[in-house]
Subunit: 490 residues, 2 copies
């Protein structure tokens, strides 16, 4: 493994691309825009999935599976939705291949053309609401609280591993409710679940807010979002939760008998997070030596390296390590002992660093003699010699400390890169020179938002929640109705 990464300072984007490859997280496949998630990257994603899935279930949701394909006509049923999703997508037109007459391989059989084309789902609102139509007759059938873990495809022209790929993996929650208020509460509940997960597990602080009309999900009445700030001062949308009103119920004619009589259309939400979170996790914490993972999501929490010259020394170390490993496992701490004798300790240190293993232990003959062990933490790269007695408690506390420290570091970085301005000149200079979030009073005009985007590439990441704004819009000078955060974004 070559350790050298381009530094973040030199080229942040290149650093990211190299890191994803060198840490063994993912790579490009032979299929344009589709990635291969490698075992180490997938192990992190599995940990994220497990935590999220448990939270979804704890809040009353159940999993199910809906088809990969969506009939083309379904996409057209919700007017905004089709504009947002029908354009760049994978279209299945045929269902059979046949041998080429010239023996050159297989070709599409022109006789096997589908009557109606199928779209590989870019998101599942349409196929799901077409299904819910048969499940919902009365208020007794509500609420429906379903989630699905799935792969989706959006034919992105410019792709980047995890951040934007043609095929990606996600969960999509789709719920159905008897009242507007209940549906909106559900959308906010899931927004909060997402934010808690991002902060408590990913150690990434997020701002919760609402999207402007321009940035709303195609078909939503309100899109709630969680936004974070990367080390290069660009924002990243982490996950969104949509209050869909009755838009999809109307598009698919899903009405229900109300408790107090009469019919009404069903109220809906949808909410999702994807493998994009992997990109956020990587970019939020890592450094020029490799990945830095929060202990709660690290597949390997403790890496252990033996340092020895003789077989006798190796045997004594192995025995001690076995003891430590078992004691750590009893506390639910995962370890990897790298006893491969074809690699030098320095190489192993670098590899654990590249992989973002939070704590590294090094054990040599002198340590055994002194009853000590070398402990290196990945986040600060500090090393210390600790007593072998009590090493389990020490490591346990250290993992908690690292989890907290990288959250605090990201929080401080965001605080230092959040500016408040009240005029467009200052706005432009902050966006250009400093980056980060720029907080402003805002009049709410879609046209001005587009104009600012054209001029500065910055977009409104979110409208802050519960903000009763007074004062003047930083740009138009009109009465402000909102406080918003602008930033350049991924």
């Amino acid at each position: 493994m070559s350790k050298e990464l381009t530094s973040r300072k030199e080229d942040y984007s290149k650093w990211y691309n190299e890191l994803v490859i060198k840490a063994g997280l993912a790579e490009h496949s032979a299929v344009r825009g589709c990635m291969v998630i490698k075992p180490y990257g997938f192990a992190i994603w599995e940990k994220m999935k497990a935590v999220l899935d448990a939270r979804f279930k704890a809040t009353g949701h159940v999993n199910a599976a809906f088809p990969l394909f969506i009939p083309k006509s379904f996409l057209s049923k919700e007017a905004d939705h089709v504009e947002g999703f029908a354009k760049e997508c994978a279209v299945v037109t045929h269902y059979r291949l046949k041998n080429a007459e010239d023996g050159s391989g297989v070709v599409v059989d022109p006789e096997a053309r589908l009557e109606e084309e199928l779209i590989v789902r870019p998101t599942s609102e349409t196929i799901i609401w077409n299904t819910y139509k048969n499940w919902i007759q009365s208020y007794r059938d509500l609420p429906i609280l379903i989630n699905q873990w799935a792969n989706v495809v959006r034919w992105e022209m410019r792709t980047r591993l995890f951040l934007r790929t043609a095929e990606f993996f996600w969960q999509e929650g789709h719920t159905a409710h008897a009242t507007s208020e209940e549906a909106n509460d559900e959308a906010l509940l899931m927004l909060n679940e997402y934010a808690n997960f991002m902060e408590q597990y990913m150690a990434v602080p997020v701002i919760k807010g609402r999207k402007t009309e321009n940035e709303r999900f195609a078909g939503a009445v309100e899109t709630y979002t969680t936004e974070s700030l990367m080390q290069d001062g660009k924002a990243l949308q982490m996950g969104t939760s949509h209050f869909l009103g009755q838009n999809f119920a109307k598009a698919f004619d899903v009405q229900f008998q109300k408790k107090d009589g009469g019919l009404d259309y069903v109220w809906a939400t949808s909410w999702g997070v994807s493998t994009r979170l992997m990109g956020a996790l990587i970019m939020a914490h890592s450094d020029d030596d490799g990945l830095i993972l929060p202990p709660k999501l690290a597949p390997i929490q403790v890496g252990i390296v033996p340092i020895y010259k003789t077989d006798e020394q190796a045997a004594a170390i192995n025995e001690k390590v076995d003891e430590i490993t078992k004691a750590l496992a009893a506390e639910g701490i995962t370890t990897k002992y790298d006893d491969d004798d074809s690699k030098r300790p320095g190489f192993k240190f670098a590899q654990f660093e590249m992989q973002g293993v939070p704590v590294r232990l090094g054990l040599g003959p002198r340590d055994l003699q002194n009853g000590t062990i070398e402990v290196a933490r990945r986040d600060t790269k500090e090393k210390s010699s600790q007593s072998l007695d009590g090493i389990v408690d020490y490591v346990k506390n250290l993992l908690d400390e690292i989890q907290e420290n990288i959250y605090n570091r990201a929080f401080e970085h965001r605080a230092a890169h959040t500016s408040t301005v009240d005029n467009y000149e200052d706005f432009k200079s902050v966006i250009k020179d400093k980056g980060g979030f720029v907080k402003v009073k805002w009049c709410g005009s879609n046209e001005l938002e587009d104009k600012i985007k054209d001029e500065t590439k910055a977009t409104i990441r979110c409208i802050l929640m519960d903000d009763e704004s007074e004062g003047k819009c930083f740009y138009s000078g009109e009465a402000a109705t909102q406080t918003v955060l602008f930033a350049k974004a991924y």
Copy 2:
């Protein structure tokens, strides 16, 4: 919920179709051949996945994710593989839709035609071996032991929920090895893991064997299989594990530096089980009143129904049930308390029966007075009154007993429907009148196998393992080389 199912005796196939719907397991979607797996069905599949995934990891495998799409040319690289899989598949030819000029919706944009068509994966050997090519240089890179949980698509013309659908869910293991022996051992290891899972968790006894050349996986050197017998006397292939030899390594030019010098092609296996197992689980145990689930895979292990007239009685029962539920949960037993006061107890009993909940508890005021509780087991439909003291231990033992009993029942059914014959006349009459497995000595001729299939619809389900056959072939009278099991199959 209407309880009436067509009886198995009347029409086994209709009984199955109705049961899948009425137990809330799955339904047909708007997309031809694709199913919706409903929450209750998906909860069973999730339990199956969790057990299998843990076993895969315990045997050294890791998960990863490979693309949904396969370039058309990849399928042609392995000669047998393309014959087996290229024919009925979903073909993506375009990557964009556009608004129809007549305003009627969206149409495929003819300008967005892919240079090379993409196939929605029917199985992933080709895309994975194309990836492994970059991962494997030397014996040090081996073995690779990867599994993926994925959706795959095969354009089946006649579909049945779970048993044969266009899109289905499965896991596919793909391993790479330095020697033929190691790869073959891996294929056998996974065959045994499958068989253990099927017998110990699904409570379905299976026969392990090898497939004949006619029935082998397209591209395999040897296909190992697990075969079970359903209540109607038809066999069902549960899962297969393939020794692929060097076929895919040669097709994708994957060579490695051997430890003792020189280059060789890599040896491969693949192995998979799918949502088809859901079909087997349903068909193996259930009866005319609904599903019968093995306790180890039942999402709800104990259903509890209160029986009361007054609010006071209800309150006293709720309190007791809360206590019982907590005590059962402490033992890892999942319960559902159906206290919906809009439904009568008899309806709830029938619903738990339809859902295959292994144990049902009924609690009324007289029970509380007497310190008793009514216990009904789903498998035998026996009811008894048990003391409330010690009910947790009683239920725990009863769940074990039910798990064992339904396995034994299936085992006895198979034993009673396995016949040994030594001539074709007897063979035909058994296949026609009794069904089940028919064990015969076999000369190994592909042509005769085809002929018997044409004449009787029975196929060779497997060649028995480790069988040194002597004697004469039941059909040709030639020297027998194998003992095989014939059956009509799903």
